[in-house]
């Protein structure tokens, strides 16, 4: 499992959502440019898990992708923090309450160090 979710985007359409598992996990929503606009999770209180969470969001955004994951809370936070590390901001549709108190990752800074070291060597 990589830090970033890299699965292909799927159309957020009723027939695809209906085929999703009712399991716990994380998901991302994207706009027409396939830019992440929201990161969410289907937790143990979500009725029908990922299928239920995405069913509530039909018609709001064109694309989605999911990852079944029992550790949905930590994975959710990791995806938000990775997004911040990559873009300098959180996804536009995540509320301030959802992102309050999140930590910071140094993914981008460390990539630059690794490249610099490689070039130097």
């Amino acid at each position: 499992m990589g830090v970033r979710l890299k699965k292909p985007w799927l159309a957020l359409a009723p027939e695809l959502v209906a085929s999703l598992p009712g399991q716990l996990g994380v998901f991302q929503l994207a706009n027409e440019h396939r830019e992440v606009v929201y990161i969410g999770f289907a937790g143990a209180r979500s009725l029908f898990g990922l299928k239920g969470e995405l069913g509530h969001r039909l018609g709001k955004w064109p694309f989605f992708r999911v990852e079944v994951n029992m550790a949905y809370r930590t994975r959710y936070r990791e995806l938000l923090m990775a997004h911040f590390s990559d873009h300098g901001c959180y996804p536009t549709e995540n509320t301030a309450e959802e992102t309050a108190g999140l930590g910071r990752l140094s993914l981008t800074a460390l990539t630059k160090i690794a490249v610099k070291t490689k070039v130097g060597s």
Binding site: A44, R45, T74, E78
Partner: protein, 378 residues
Amino acid sequence: MLVRMVRRFVREEIVPLELDLDPDTDELAEEDSIRLKAIVQSMGLFGLGIPEEYGGPDIDMVTQTLISMEISQHRAGLYAPCYGVFGGAGLAQLFESSDAQKESYLYPTLRGEKRGFFGLTEPSGGSDPARAIQTRAVRDGDDWVINGSKIFISGADRADFGLVFARTSPDKGRGGVTCFIVDTDTPGFYVRRIVHTLRSAHYATELQFEDMRVPHANVLGGVNKGFAIANDRLSRQRIPYSAGCIGVAIKAHEMAVEYSKIRETFGAPLSSRQSIQWMLVDNEIDIQQARWATLEAADLADKGLPFRKQAAMAKLVSTEGASRVVDRSMQIHGGYGVTKDFPFERWYREMRIRRIGEGPSEVQRHIIARDILGSSLR
């Protein structure tokens, strides 16, 4: 009376809140947290583990241990007892810091303005930190330059500063380790990645230090005296760590006893079956053993007597015993026991970590054996 008051607080204020919380969360809504902290302050118990001269409650280690056994008796109780509304000492090593360090780090931490992390374990090992530490600190004028990495570090991504242990004298073994107070906005400080574990409510982090410059004024406790700081913390921490396990075991056992009386199989309650009765008996024995061992260690600590062996025994007996109690209680609950509707699955996962964290069972046995034999085994 104090213990009964805390028990009532947990049952009337914390447990009902969990009915609506995500079963894997370790945080409360801010308004609930503020409200509950005010209640704890009115009970005179805010800041458990903080010395009285720094504003903590005036209670001894035995009482603190009994309270720790109560505040862990809920779903999130093992790692987030009462969701942190009792406050706590956090990085107790800072009580030994210089006046200037206290102003910059200890007092802001006690006021809730700063957060710290404890950075000891490295990819090369955690059970033998004195030898495993490979992070190097080299003196350069008024600074130290630190290079290396740490793993399984809690809260570093959200912290303002941390205690980082680094090797300053490569040829001195445990006498060559120094503790540095490091601000997390220091250039060269990186949170490399999140480390996911069984404890899905919370993650650890891996850190990397690249030519990180730390002023000499940020050395805590003196150069090459870091291992004593780490070691003291590890011994003392084992007592509340044990008490938390016992609290969860008590709650799991209590639920198993109740369930066994109402759940019927083949026309009779589970409690009438000898196989179930023996499970409950074994639960009771595991809990009593752990309670006695932990309270003895706390009593010795209160009296200023050596308690390293007793703390190791308490840690060993309570983590292993509580693991068995949670397992048996889950078994008695059958299919419900493994669902997220009940707290057992969370306790089962988190309790497994307890046999490794703060020194695994094998290290505790090593400490006890060394004490029995009267000298180092190595």
